[in-house]
């Protein structure tokens, strides 16, 4: 038999890729949420945040392409793992039950491919709506302390989420993201061999907290925009007469 080699295509290699990109996506999702929270401050805060990222110029393109690669490797490795697993059990059990106790099996762990594919479809829609949203003169605005005009991302956000259908869709997808993260959070660290018997239970429990914080953090945003009488003023708009 030929000398065995390290293979990224092996069952272990695929999960190393899936886990490593998973950890990067965890970092990304935290950063993304932090940026989005500027909406609660108001129109200028969000547009200033957008203007700052755009001022990165070519570096932004590099970051975006890197992120796209991370998403593609993550989804690709995940789909490949899923296909292997479909093939590995050709006859299903008539009765199947978790044996509990040590098991880490959850609704979340069993539906990773579903929540993942929803996230992939959502990602395309989401980029289409916002990253590649309208830039016509109607979507330019001024920003205090900023020469000339900037892109009015805030207007796109408000226009989108004043529509209850978009708000409802985003809320549902964010709940599914929460499920993906409930298993994904601890699983990513396990996949790259970063856990030991002490850390494992902590990471497993922390996954619940992480999932809830991220999902709720994101879904409050469309709800806020939908309900706020004056989203331009941020949360202050809620208390102003």
């Amino acid at each position: 038999m030929s000398t065995p080699r390290f293979q990224l295509r092996s069952s272990i290699g695929k999960k190393l890729l899936n886990g490593l990109t998973g950890v990067l996506l965890l970092l990304f999702i935290v950063a993304h949420l932090a940026g989005n929270l500027t909406i609660f401050v108001g129109k200028d805060a969000l547009n200033a945040y957008a203007a700052t990222t755009h001022s990165l110029g070519p570096l932004l393109i590099v970051i975006e392409l890197g992120l796209a690669a991370v998403f593609l490797v993550h989804a690709g490795s995940a789909i490949s793992v899923w296909r292997d697993n479909q093939a590995a059990r050709d006859t299903r059990y008539m009765v199947s039950k978790s044996k509990g106790a040590a098991s880490k099996q959850t609704v979340a762990s069993r539906t990773m491919i579903i929540t993942g594919l929803v996230l992939l479809a959502f990602l395309i829609l989401h980029l289409w709506q916002f990253r590649f949203g309208p830039t016509t003169p109607a979507y330019q605005t001024t920003l205090p302390g900023h020469a000339g005009e900037v892109w009015n991302l805030h207007l796109i956000v408000v226009e989108t989420f004043k529509n209850p259908i978009w708000t409802a869709l985003y809320v549902v997808v964010m709940i599914l993201l929460g499920f993906h993260l409930r298993h994904g959070f601890w699983s990513a660290f396990q996949s790259i061999g970063a856990l030991n018997p002490k850390l494992r239970p902590i990471a497993f429990s922390a996954g619940v907290v992480f999932a809830i914080v991220i999902a709720v953090g994101f879904l409050l945003l469309p709800i806020f925009v939908y309900l706020a009488p004056d989203p331009n003023a941020g949360v202050l708009g809620l208390v102003k007469p």
Binding site: S11, R89, K99, A102, Q105, P197
Partner: protein, 257 residues
């Protein structure tokens, strides 16, 4: 004491997977057993069923067993959807009928995985595990006789941890219980057992690479960290062994000894 916990003889309705040798499929067949002592093992209950089947001139249920004391690893079946039945950390042969309330319906199926083809009824071919074992589940250096105790000091916890991994009896319950039919717990235990001890170090990299290669070639699934294997393992082998295998696999990539 209720009838459920009493020591009186019990009756059960069984649904047993029957699949003739060489057949592509099978089905659950209903049986009834009575006069079952709660202290009987699950296998003894099946023996009793088989005796009554033989008396009626029917084909007995094929089920594997050898030691009947939890060490050989041959007896595994899936009982009520759980590998080795509902009680954690024991084999099917150690399972007692007192774990099933009188009158219960019990479903018995073989371990199901593409890499474990069904031979007959509840017996599956687990030689895929032997073939993985042959790719590195041993040391080929001459380890000699027991060395002088202080010549190669090994910390007590390391020694215990290696022993925990070595407790694997190659029963295949981890594969049976895994939603992905992955064999990572078994292979991880083998890899970790040798990775922790100096005798395993000369072949450390080749071992993990070869065993993983064979595991994939046999058609086992990939690990999604469901952790169901640990729950089903009669020897409480932890998924720490899977984490170790992943670390060893990465280590082998950079060629470190």
């Amino acid at each position: 004491m209720s009838a459920q916990n009493g020591t009186g003889l019990r009756s059960y309705k069984l649904k047993v997977w029957r699949q003739p040798r060489g057949a592509a499929g099978g089905k659950l067949v209903d049986y009834e057993v009575s006069g079952i002592d709660p202290g009987m093992s699950f296998l003894e209950m099946v023996d009793q069923l088989n005796e009554s089947l033989l008396k009626r001139g029917e084909e007995p249920v094929a089920i594997e067993s050898d030691c009947r004391e939890g060490i050989c690893g041959t007896c595994g079946v899936v009982i009520d959807g759980m590998a080795h039945g509902p009680i954690p950390n024991i084999t099917t042969c150690s399972l007692r009928m007192r774990s099933f309330p009188n009158g219960a319906t019990i479903t018995v199926e073989p371990f199901r995985a593409k890499a474990f083809p069904i031979i007959k009824d509840l017996i599956v071919d687990r030689s895929a595990m032997d073939r993985i074992q042959r790719r590195g589940g041993y040391v080929s250096v001459n380890a000699g006789s027991a060395p002088e105790a202080n010549a190669t000091p090994i910390a007590r916890d390391v020694q215990e941890s290696a022993m925990d991994s070595a407790a694997c009896i190659q029963c295949g319950a981890c594969v049976a219980a895994c939603p992905n039919a992955a064999a990572h717990l078994f292979v991880g235990a083998r890899v970790r057992q040798f990775a922790l001890l100096p005798q395993g170090h000369p072949e450390r990299n080749e071992r993990v690479l070869a065993m993983v290669e064979q595991m994939d070639a046999e058609g086992f699934g990939d690990c999604s960290n469901h952790g169901e294997c640990e729950a089903a393992c009669p020897k409480s082998i932890s998924i720490e062994n899977i984490a170790t295998m992943r670390r060893e696999y990465m280590r082998a990539a950079v060629g470190k000894r």
